[in-house]
């Protein structure tokens, strides 16, 4: 996309007609992507804490204090008392450098980022099943699908350009099945809308697989030649008859049979999913169940057939690729692999710890219990974005040292000892990797405000102050090192990244990149089925808390709203927090559109306006999490998925009452 600059200021944004995915289109947040860049609230100088105040300081002092604090914690309590949360909004180069700093300079594998709360289950489950936790095809290949199963994704609002390809396939005659408790726009346009109860996904997915096998629609040849573990999975799913699945999920058995035959009969079937699948305490199981379905029908490795996880932040794919995760190095190379260890030690010098580190939420819990003492948070606002706000705040306040780098003051920078002002995407060079594995350049359009700096610059500076080497002349230099150590990025260099970018795996300098993965072989040889069983969600509505609360997003805001709520048009669209509820429920409680209500769970309570929406089931509540004045995560629970350690963000038992006017 183009940024239009006049007199050193960004005055507009427009899409590129030549881009292989966007093809001249943008969503509303894209058209307004750069509106926040010159906002007067931007952080312009480094700040350090003195008592209750954050005082302006120099870069040198801020970094010296950071280095000294981290070193003293390291010396006294060991490297495991330190942690780094990187940013899914930062560049690949910045994520790589942060993960290098954590491992080589701080000596800890406590490095993670916000993917823990979005697609960690995808990385875990698809990594196990297919050998790679990324989208298997290109977004544009969706237009050649014959059947598309969209699960837990409000695609027209959250990924409008992906939706445009889904709708394009539909106008070609493809069948569209949408599974969502809410009647989304896509559900209205679908051939079949299935509306399961919250948290019952494994049941109906297993049921689809069961029916497909019974109707002999499974791809026996594909299963035999390219997969392992089918028989065990089949045994596990055979219990999920349409009737049983109806009982658990509330989806009529006839609809399940219909969906199974649509998907089973399609020669190119695609599965598209997002947070509605992953943000559950058994998120990894749900993703695995979807992978089982794709594998059983042979829908992997071809154009228009595959598994399409839709990622949210512009570089959450890249942050994972760069190894900003506690158990892998860049390119998902296992810490436990001696070859990988040796390669990185040789390149970086020094030592790399072998034991996997803590995940994002585990770091906060460690901080709460006092075993984690120092934390670096880059471009993220956990106070608002992580579940159970009050507990997160308590954990961060308990730290001996907290450094936060961001572009705006946030609820998290307010708790920091050192705050660094960062350059935003329009003010620096680097690369981002999109959800379709496309590595693309981002180029500096304007100067950062005040003393703000591109994060890669201070990360290098701090790494050197901590005693490890980080001499790079430019982000391109960093990419060369990434390529030399990361096989899937092996052929990527700035010279090769034109407007099309390159899709990884791109192992060599003459490799054209990979649109469709797993064409003839999976990275780990054969794909793996794994039987998964349905478990009741940890919390279900009861007499005290009769509503089922789910959290999500608005079309006009992004994440914790630090940028979109400073974008005048987007803020105009949705200026205040709200809870969506069923009109019938509202009527019974005497609530009208716009009535102030209090939503409570066992964790906390917030006050918001009610919005009546026909698309919401009776007994359900939907709450977006962008708003600091009504933080949805004050209400959410922290039951973790045992594999991916994602939290249950979609299911909480809640009650609601009218507030006194």
């Amino acid at each position: 996309m183009f940024l239009h600059v006049d007199g050193g200021r960004i005055v507009g944004t427009s899409p590129s007609l030549a881009h292989p995915m966007s093809r001249g289109s943008l969503c509303i947040k894209g058209w307004l992507a750069a509106d926040f860049v010159g906002h007067p609230d931007r952080l312009k100088s480094p700040l350090i804490r003195q008592g209750d105040l954050l005082i302006k300081t120099t870069w040198d002092e801020a970094l010296a204090l950071t280095a000294a604090s981290l070193r003293s914690i390291q010396k006294e309590f060991g490297p495991q008392a330190l942690g780094v949360l990187t940013s899914a909004k930062g560049t690949n180069e910045e994520n790589y450098l942060l993960m290098k700093m954590a491992r080589a300079a701080l000596g800890t594998n406590n490095v993670d980022h916000v993917a823990r709360l979005c697609h960690a289950p995808t990385v875990a489950a698809l990594g196990f099943a297919l050998g790679s936790g990324a989208m298997t095809g290109s977004i544009s290949s969706l237009q050649s699908s014959d059947a598309i199963l969209v699960v837990g994704s409000n695609t027209t609002e959250q990924h409008p350009l992906v939706a445009s390809y889904i709708l394009r396939a539909r106008s070609r005659g493809a069948k569209l099945i949408v599974v969502d408790p809410r009647k989304t726009r896509l559900a209205e346009l679908a051939d079949l809308w299935l509306s399961p109860r919250q948290g019952t996904d494994v049941a109906w997915i297993n049921c689809l697989l069961n029916i497909i096998v019974q109707q002999d629609l499974a791809d026996r040849q594909f299963i035999k030649e390219r997969t392992d573990g089918f028989i065990e999975t089949l045994q596990a799913t055979s219990a999920y008859t349409a009737e049983k699945a109806e009982e658990i999920s509330g989806i009529p058995a006839a609809d399940l049979v219909k969906a199974a035959s649509i998907f089973g009969l399609a020669s190119r079937g695609a599965i598209v999913y997002a947070m509605g699948v992953t943000q559950h305490f058994r998120g990894t199981d749900i993703v695995q169940a979807l992978a089982n379905l794709a594998l059983a029908t042979g829908n992997v490795g071809r154009d228009g057939a595959g598994v399409y996880p839709l990622r949210g932040h512009q570089n959450v794919q890249g942050a994972c690729d760069m190894g900003a995760l506690p158990n892998v190095l860049s390119g998902y190379q296992l810490l436990s692999s001696p070859q990988a260890q040796a390669k990185f030690v040789e390149a970086w010098g020094g030592q790399i710890p072998c034991e996997p580190g803590l995940t994002a939420l585990e770091m906060l819990w460690a901080a709460e219990s006092g075993s984690l003492k120092g934390l670096i948070i880059v471009g993220e606002n956990p106070v608002l974005s992580y579940p159970h706000t009050s507990r997160v705040q308590k954990a961060l306040k308990g730290l001996e040292f907290l450094m936060v780098s961001d572009i705006f003051p946030t609820e998290t920078t307010a708790l920091a000892d050192v705050v660094l002002p960062a350059a935003c995407f329009a003010e620096k060079d680097g690369t981002f990797t999109s959800t379709e594995r496309r590595v693309q350049r981002v180029r500096k359009a304007v100067d950062p405000p005040g003393e703000a700096r591109a994060e890669w610059e201070w990360i290098c500076d701090l790494t050197e102050r901590l005693g490890a080497k980080a001499e790079y002349s430019s982000p391109g230099d960093v990419m060369d090192e990434i390529a030399s150590l990361t096989p899937i990025y092996g052929g990527i260099s700035y010279e090769r990244l034109g407007p099309d970018g390159l899709q990884w795996p791109c192992p060599t300098k003459d490799h054209p990149g990979t649109g469709v993965m797993h064409v003839s072989r999976f990275p780990h040889g054969r794909a793996c089925f794994r039987p998964v069983l349905y478990l009741d969600p940890p919390e279900t509505p009861d007499a005290d808390y009769p509503f089922m609360l789910t959290t999500g997003r608005s079309m006009y805001h992004f994440h914790t709203g630090t940028m979109t709520r400073r974008t005048s048009l987007l803020d105009r669209e949705v200026p205040t927090p709200f809870v969506k509820m069923n009109p019938e429920d509202a009527r019974l409680m005497g609530i009208r559109d716009g009535t102030k209500v209090r939503v409570e769970t066992r964790r906390g309570s917030i006050s918001v306006e009610a919005r009546l929406a026909d698309g919401v089931h009776k007994g359900d509540l939907f709450l977006p999490f962008h708003f600091s004045e009504a933080p949805a995560n004050a209400l959410t629970a922290q039951s973790l998925d045992p594999v991916s350690k994602i939290a249950e963000l979609k299911v909480s038992a809640a009650r609601l009452k009218k507030e006194a006017p």
């Binding site: 007199g7 960004i10 507009g12 590129s16 001249g24 509106d35 070609r172 005048s568 048009l569």
Partner: protein, 338 residues
């Protein structure tokens, strides 16, 4: 004044002009053509940039003035407006400027617009190879420039026929006097022939009245269900001009004017939450109503210039001209567009 500029002399003319004034020209980039300050880059005079040139008269975001509080009083300061020569603009965009002149020129005239407009020279390039999305001929907005401009160029093969229409146009030609040759009658004949061909190459069923008929037939709610509410059609339309005003910064700051889009629900939402244009279908209908009913009443001209940019940028399966549910990728092959 007429003259002939051989093709290889064009960069030298721009260089001459660039020494006197900031020249904005359609430059070729590997991500597509774009109107930018010309500093010797290769030009793309074939494809039309997606962002219309009207952005230089009505930017997406513009600081109307800066306010500073001093000793209890506010001091206001307007920013300097740069003088610019807009080179290689299309007849459709020129027609859009003529429309904006009429819209913003109604009493009281919009000073912010006219400050920029007065500081701008216009050099138009007639369209001899219209794009697949174009239908300016049906709306009498092209392919030949009919609205006032300073200089009109026509690519007649080995060079450009230059026709100056204003004193500024003559000054532009004088700046490149050494590069010019006399215009010949053949050049004028060639121009007429090429433009006739261009006219014929465009669809013949896209007149204002035909689009009005399509509006009457349209199933707006069905179209609205496809609309992804991105606002893109408003942001690329050279005639769309709605804006929002906000003051950014307390106590010192800027009064900004930002482009807005009636395709967004908040545009028509009233205080208290009621919305007369609640559904995307109603908003889409309003968009057309504005262009084909309301703007003609105000200006006497249709509010659409047939540039087809809304069709190019629309991610939804909406045929923006016929107003039917159909993806642009089903009727046009994606390759043809690139």
């Amino acid at each position: 004044m007429k003259a002939f500029l051989p093709k290889d002399q064009l960069p030298f003319l721009l260089e001459e002009l660039g020494e006197r004034i900031e020249v904005i020209a359609p430059v070729s980039t590997d991500a597509g053509p774009s109107f930018v300050t010309w500093q010797g880059q290769p030009l793309d005079l074939k494809d039309k940039p997606l962002t219309p040139i009207t952005e230089f008269l009505l930017p997406h975001k513009e600081a109307l003035f800066t306010y500073v509080q001093e000793a209890g009083r506010y001091i206001f300061k307007e920013e300097e407006i740069p003088s610019r020569l807009l080179f290689g603009i299309r007849p459709c965009d020129l027609h859009a400027i003529a429309l904006l002149d009429r819209i913003f020129g109604r009493e009281p005239p919009d000073q912010a617009y006219f400050r920029r407009r007065r500081a701008t020279a216009l050099v138009v390039q007639n369209c001899t190879s219209p794009g697949r999305e174009c239908f300016c001929a049906g709306l009498e907005a092209g392919p030949e420039a009919k609205d006032p401009c300073d200089l009109q160029l026509t690519d007649v093969g080995d060079g450009f026929l230059c026709q100056a229409e204003t004193p500024a146009g003559i000054l532009i030609l004088n700046a490149g006097r050494a590069l010019l040759k006399p215009a010949l009658p053949e050049h004028l004949q060639e121009k007429a022939k090429l433009l006739q061909e261009a006219r014929r190459a465009m669809p013949q069923d896209r007149s204002c009245s035909q689009i009005r008929q399509a509006m009457e037939r349209a199933d707006w709610e069905a179209l609205g269900r496809e609309c992804l509410s991105c606002g893109g059609c408003s942001f690329v339309c050279p005639v769309c001009h709605c804006f929002n005003i906000l003051d950014l910064g307390v106590p010192d700051g800027q009064r900004l004017r930002c482009r807005d889009s009636c395709m967004l629900p908040g545009f028509s939402r009233l205080t208290g939450g009621a919305n007369p244009r609640r559904t995307p279908g109603q908003r889409l209908r309003h968009w057309y109503q504005e262009k084909f009913e309301d703007i003609p009443q105000i200006t006497g001209l249709p509010g659409c210039v047939g540039c087809g940019r809304c069709h190019l940028t629309c991610p939804a399966a909406i045929n923006r001209v016929d107003l039917t549910v159909a993806s642009r990728f089903v009727d046009d092959s994606s390759e043809a567009r690139r």
